[in-house]
């Protein structure tokens, strides 16, 4: 599903975030991307979502070479990926329902199907009764969960998450990880960036540790 081949990323300011990163994540796998803050976890995820392009090397997502995707096809490419952001990125002038429904509206799903999927996603993160609320009236943790619901509502093949449990308490964090595991069981490929080592110690999954711009593979 994801294949990084000797990928380097240098930012215009001169900082080299990644130098020669190599890893493969097969379809249906679940892996954690770990490492201290600033190690480049977000950069890896940005390269997968084509928010950034690699300076060197090849990034393959779903067998597509991202370097060959032109600007105007990027939205279509992103529709196949569920992205969970560190700062949730919800739209405050819309309801929780509308926020979660956004990817489905973009893909012009039919109304009934859309409603079904949105409610299913909200139910999975335990926020079904907050459907009509504004994101502003939710706690940070709840906002984060809405972001997760949005990412999974369209049932993408690949879900990438940047610190999804950053604002959640340990119990809730574990619940969310178990939720991810359930997604994984039905075939969703997951790449989760987190620096909560305590949490992932409880879960036995493959870890890709970022160390000075390189990835060290630590299998399960």
């Amino acid at each position: 599903m994801i294949h990084f081949e000797n990928v380097s990323k240098r930012y215009p300011a001169g900082r080299e975030a990644l130098s020669g990163v190599n890893f493969r994540l097969e379809k249906g796998e679940m892996a954690f991307l770990t490492g201290p803050s600033g190690a480049g976890k977000s950069t890896v995820l940005k390269l997968v979502a084509l928010i950034e392009r690699a300076t060197r090397g090849t990034v393959l997502v779903g067998n597509q070479n991202t370097a060959r995707i032109p600007r105007r096809r990027i939205p279509l490419f992103r529709r196949r990926i569920g992205i969970i952001f560190q700062d949730h990125k919800l739209l405050n002038d819309r309801t929780v329902f509308d926020n979660v429904a956004l990817p489905l509206m973009i893909a012009s799903h039919r109304r009934r199907e859309l409603e079904r999927r949105v409610r299913a996603a909200l139910d999975q993160v335990g926020l079904l009764e907050y459907e009509k609320h504004s994101p502003l009236s939710l706690s940070t943790g709840e906002q984060q969960r809405v972001g997760i619901a949005r990412a999974v509502a369209s049932r993408p093949e690949l879900v990438i998450a940047d610190e999804p449990t950053g604002n959640l308490d340990p119990d809730l964090s574990l619940d969310i990880m178990r939720l991810f595991e359930r997604f994984n069981k039905v075939g969703v490929t997951l790449l989760i960036a987190t620096h909560d080592l305590e949490l992932i110690d409880k879960l036995q999954h493959r870890r890709l540790r970022l160390d000075h711009g390189k990835v060290v593979d630590e299998p399960e």
């Binding site: 928010i51 950034e52 990027i74 939205p75 279509l76 992103r78 973009i106 039919r110 949005r150």
Partner: protein, 305 residues
């Protein structure tokens, strides 16, 4: 079939969304619509005015009365006979004799020289015929005037259609000026709406970024703004049409009085149904165009990449 329904609902959603956005900021939206309405009302109001002047000058051309002053030697009876003869002509609608006595009375009443006239021993005014041509072109009227001038009893023919000609040329000139003004003001509308849309895009930067991150295409992001521009343009057009109608209503009463003074049943003509549709449609198209330009230039800058 299903895709048509979805296409339709997507566009109607955008339209409703645009109306919602406009209504949520009543003050700002009203100002924008007011500017557009003024920019559209000016050419349409001017066009209506020019149109009316054209119609007026056209109807005046062949309905201008002129006066044939008879020689002082002609007595009243001969004058009456002459009046009947002239009226009998096919190119004459009416010929009314104003005898010397009546002329003096009228003159005294209208001119304000009443007291001065009393000092005169004799009536200095001749008999006169007021002749109304039976239609025809400017050339026909002039030919009639020449004929009447050649009559033995005629002292002077006072034909003054020159002012009608001048009026018509003025109307044509004004029409061209209005055309230029229309083009310039339409550009103004496009610029104003374009700027408003640019500000809207700026206000919604974060929202646009999120939509792009979640897979919204450029078209998806652009559509609400296009509809916003369309609504502004259409709203401006509607207000412009109302303003023009109201303005016309305000001057229609004095205009009718003026027409009656000239013995004319003339009434002001407003915007026809077709012209109103053109105004509304034009506003909408200009609004759409302004939004197209603004989104083409500014949406690209708002990108998470």
């Amino acid at each position: 079939m299903d895709s048509i329904a979805r296409y339709f609902s997507a566009h109607s959603q955008n339209l409703v969304g645009a109306l919602g956005r406009i209504s949520r900021q009543p003050l700002g939206s009203s100002m924008t619509i007011a500017v557009i309405a003024i920019a559209l009302a000016l050419p349409s109001g001017l066009h209506v005015m020019v149109n009316n002047v054209r119609i007026l000058s056209g109807s005046l051309e062949s309905a201008v009365d002129f006066t044939v002053y008879l020689d002082m030697s002609v007595d009243e009876e001969s004058a009456q006979v002459l009046a009947r003869d002239v009226e009998a002509r096919p190119d004459v609608n009416r010929a009314v004799l104003i005898d010397r006595a009546q002329a003096l009375v009228d003159f005294r009443a209208y001119s304000g020289f009443g007291e001065a006239l009393d000092t005169l021993e004799e009536n200095p005014l001749p008999h006169a015929l007021v002749v109304r041509p039976a239609g025809g072109t400017q050339g026909d009227v002039e030919a009639l005037a020449r004929d009447l001038d050649e009559m033995q009893q005629t002292a002077l023919v006072q034909l003054d259609t020159a002012w009608v000609e001048r009026l018509r040329s003025l109307a044509e000139l004004a029409n061209r000026a209005v055309g230029i003004a229309t083009v310039l003001l339409s550009l103004a509308v496009v610029v104003v709406i374009g700027n408003t849309i640019r500000l809207e895009i700026n206000n919604r930067r974060e929202e646009i970024e999120v939509i792009k991150l979640v897979g919204g295409s450029d078209g998806y992001v652009r559509r609400p703004f296009l509809y916003l521009g369309l609504c502004y343009g259409l709203g401006g057009g509607i207000v412009a049409a109302i303003t023009t109608a109201v303005g016309l209503g305000l001057i229609s009463t004095p205009a009718r009085s003026l027409a009656q003074l000239y013995d004319s049943g003339y009434r002001l003509v407003g915007l026809s149904a077709g012209q109103t549709v053109l105004l509304l449609g034009g506003g909408a198209i200009l609004g759409w165009a302004g939004a197209v330009i603004a989104t083409a230039r500014h949406l690209r800058d708002v990108d998470p990449t």
